[in-house]
Amino acid sequence: MEHSFSLPNSGHNYDAKASKLGMWLFLYTELLLFGGLFMVYMVYRALNPDAFLIASFNLNVWLGTINTVVLLTSSMTVAMSITAIQKGNSKLSLILLALTVAAAVIFLVIKYFEWGAKIEHGFWPGMDHFTNLPFGEQLYFYLYFFMTGLHGLHVVVGMVFILIVMKKIKNGSQNKNKNQLLENSGLYWHLVDLIWIYLFPLFYLIH
């Protein structure tokens, strides 16, 4: 299109800082989304301290710990992939991102078995065993499924983001000089990690 005059502060210029600022703002909204749930958790835990304690013994601390390690490691690999691309090593960056995606898959598989075991034992809302639990324990499992489920959804979204970025690195549109999209997906991935860091003690560890 004919465009003889162009403003220095045009909204169509590539602006890595704007993109990063936008991502941070979006992350605030994600934190607040989970913030609402943390508040609900806090209120119900305060109202039913004993029931929450008893219910938490049903979770497998080992599986939770393994998942925490897996997710923390993936946060490291994604951070390393950003450094790699900034140093011009796209190939290494791709390998590190592939590792991140692999970690995400491992996390989801472990989560699948955890949930599967719970449902097998009748802990899903509406099942016979579940409806016989005291109210407080029911609330614990409502929150457990809702919060880890929503977190799992975020893991999937983060994974898709990283896969898209991998494609862009392959075709060269994310490179040494222009890698804000990778950095943003990295930020998102750290958020997924950060939320898990809170979910893990809240459900598995507080005794």
């Binding site: 299109m1 602006d15 936008g22 703002l25 607040l32 809302p125 609330l139």
Partner: protein
């Protein structure tokens, strides 16, 4: 179009066809898309409101049954809150004018901007889809209070999903504006050189960003409770419905300021332009927007004084509510001080701005009445509350919206409307509005509860007065719309700067070219409202 003769065609003429509109990345076209959709839903909401007023003309079920009435007021609320008033000013005028006022050619993320409009459309489809799918539209009121919203057979799930999607759309608009304001101001324009409308949008955007996620997650919990049986708010399984009310109002009270702040921003533009005088207390107005946004977060409890709340938290919430009045009245006094000794030109936009102050005064002061603990116990859930927030929402934000439409109409389409007819329409709308809502305040004090299709005989006369008011107001709205429609079709060509404004949108052509400016815009020396010929004594 005849408006532009120079090298660049206007944004309206660059490309043609439906797809060049619904997939446009141009912020001005997206603003217009919002205007047409938001405006249509406003009309749907008005029709629903008129139906309710007709039903209330006489006591007893005349034209609709009790259950239908419940669904109508819910749909009226959902449409007016989520589809009209929250997106209205930011998404329409914010999209169109924020980049131009900042002297740039687009928002920071044009694609996300388009996406937020599409999300809006999807949300709207969900909201209206309840008319067709499931067992009819929700009958819970727009507040979706648990546990009723979990138990009712009507299609609450879809309505709640609509509100969730619309919230996401609203978040993306806010995010876009914040980044635009931070990154794309014209060279030399500091934060304190921005027009006050931009400041108002900045404060609004932060609320959109930081409050909306809370309602998002809360509505998801309602959805999970209905669909998956994850019962977080049902007292029958240990949940706490009061917790739902807290979470709901943590968003929905700040949302009131999403509705009000941009309106104040428009008034802060109109008043200096039509008094040709530097705005009085620029910084006070700008920072009071931020102040309202901040204090607005801490007052949600005043919706719940009668829900069961400890004494200390009740009076703390009440006290904090009174604090909101301070930055609000700072603005009002500054507007009045701007008018004082100005060269006032009584044009249509100024009339709407002055009516905004009048209506907002009634709406604001009645707000303090319901914010006061003792009075609220008597007035809670009566028509007093209905009258109060309609004065704020329609008398305030609605008037600022229509005023803004008349202020920027010549810039948006390059045409001028018939001013005499516009003034007539204004007078009818203003009179109709007051006849419609003032009786509600009295009815509330007399004890008439809200949200019923029926009432006691002693409330008959005032209800009839109110219904007649709704007819008058709608007549005015129709005249206003027809006038603007005719102007849009075959209005006289408008000059680039019909009001002698000095903010940047008046430096470009009417309608603006695709990239807004074809030469570098000049910032006014000494601030955005420093009128060269004004006597600033």
């Amino acid at each position: 179009m005849t408006g532009t003769s120079a090298s660049q065609p206007s944004y309206l003429d660059v490309t043609k066809g439906l797809f060049s509109w619904i997939f446009t990345l141009d912020h001005k076209r997206i603003g217009l898309l919002y205007l047409y959709t938001v405006g249509s839903f406003f009309l749907v909401g008005v029709i629903l409101g008129v139906i309710m007023r007709l039903e209330l003309f006489n006591p007893g079920a005349d034209i609709i049954e009790a259950q239908t009435y419940n669904q109508v007021f819910t749909l009226h609320g959902v449409i007016m809150v989520f589809l009209f008033i929250i997106p209205s000013i930011p998404a329409v005028f914010g999209n169109f004018f924020l980049p131009i006022m900042l002297g740039t050619d687009d928002v920071a993320f044009p694609r996300i901007n388009l996406m937020s409009w599409w999300l809006y459309v999807i949300g709207a489809i969900f909201a209206l889809g309840t008319l067709i799918f499931g067992d009819g539209p929700a009958d819970t009121g727009w507040t979706f209070y648990a546990p009723y919203s979990v138990k009712t057979g009507t299609n609450v799930s879809m309505t709640v999903l609509a509100a969730f999607v619309l919230g996401f759309s609203s978040i993306l608009t806010g995010l876009n504006f914040i980044v635009t304001i931070h990154r794309l101001r014209a060279p030399g324009m500091g934060f304190n050189d921005m027009p006050l409308f931009s400041w108002a949008l900045y404060a609004t955007s932060w609320i959109q960003l930081l409050a909306t996620p809370i309602i998002g997650i809360t509505l998801l919990m309602i959805l999970a409770e209905r669909v998956l049986g994850i019962g977080l708010f049902d007292p029958a399984i240990g949940g706490d419905p009061i917790l739902y009310q807290h979470l709901f109002w943590i968003y929905s009270h700040p949302a009131v300021y999403i509705m009000a702040l941009p309106a104040m921003g428009i008034v802060s533009e109109i008043i200096p332009t039509f008094s040709q005088r530097t705005i009085f207390g620029y910084k006070a107005i700008a920072y009071s927007s931020m102040g309202i946004a901040l204090v607005g977060y801490f007052v949600w409890g005043h919706h719940m004084f009668t829900s069961g709340m400890s004494g200390p938290s009740a009076w703390i919430f009440s006290l904090l509510t009174f604090f909101v009045a301070i930055p609000t009245s700072i603005k009002v006094f500054n507007w009045l001080a701007t008018l004082y000794k100005g060269s006032i030109d009584i044009e249509v936009p100024l009339l709407y701005a002055l009516a905004f102050i009048f209506n907002f005064l009634i709406g604001g002061l009645t707000g303090l009445v319901v914010g006061a603990l003792a009075a609220d116990v008597h007035l809670h859930d009566t028509y007093f509350v209905v009258g109060h927030f309609h004065y704020v929402m329609l008398g305030g934000t609605g008037f600022a919206f229509i005023g803004g439409l008349h202020y920027w109409f010549p810039k948006m389409w390059g045409k001028m409307y018939n001013k005499a007819v516009a003034k007539l329409a204004f007078a009818i709308i203003f009179i109709g509005l007051n006849i419609l809502y003032f009786p509600m305040l009295i009815l509330g004090v007399m004890g008439m509860p809200r949200r019923y299709y029926d009432y006691l005989p002693e409330f008959h006369t005032l209800n009839q007065v109110s219904t007649v008011g709704s007819w008058i107001m709608v007549t005015g709205l129709i005249i206003m719309l027809v006038n603007l429609f005719i102007a849009h079709r075959k209005g006289k060509k408008a000059p680039d700067n019909p009001w002698n404004g000095i903010t940047l949108e008046w430096q470009t052509k009417s309608p603006p070219p695709l990239y807004n400016f074809d030469k570098m815009p000049k910032l006014a020396k000494g601030g955005p409202y420093n009128y060269p010929n004004a006597k600033n004594s």
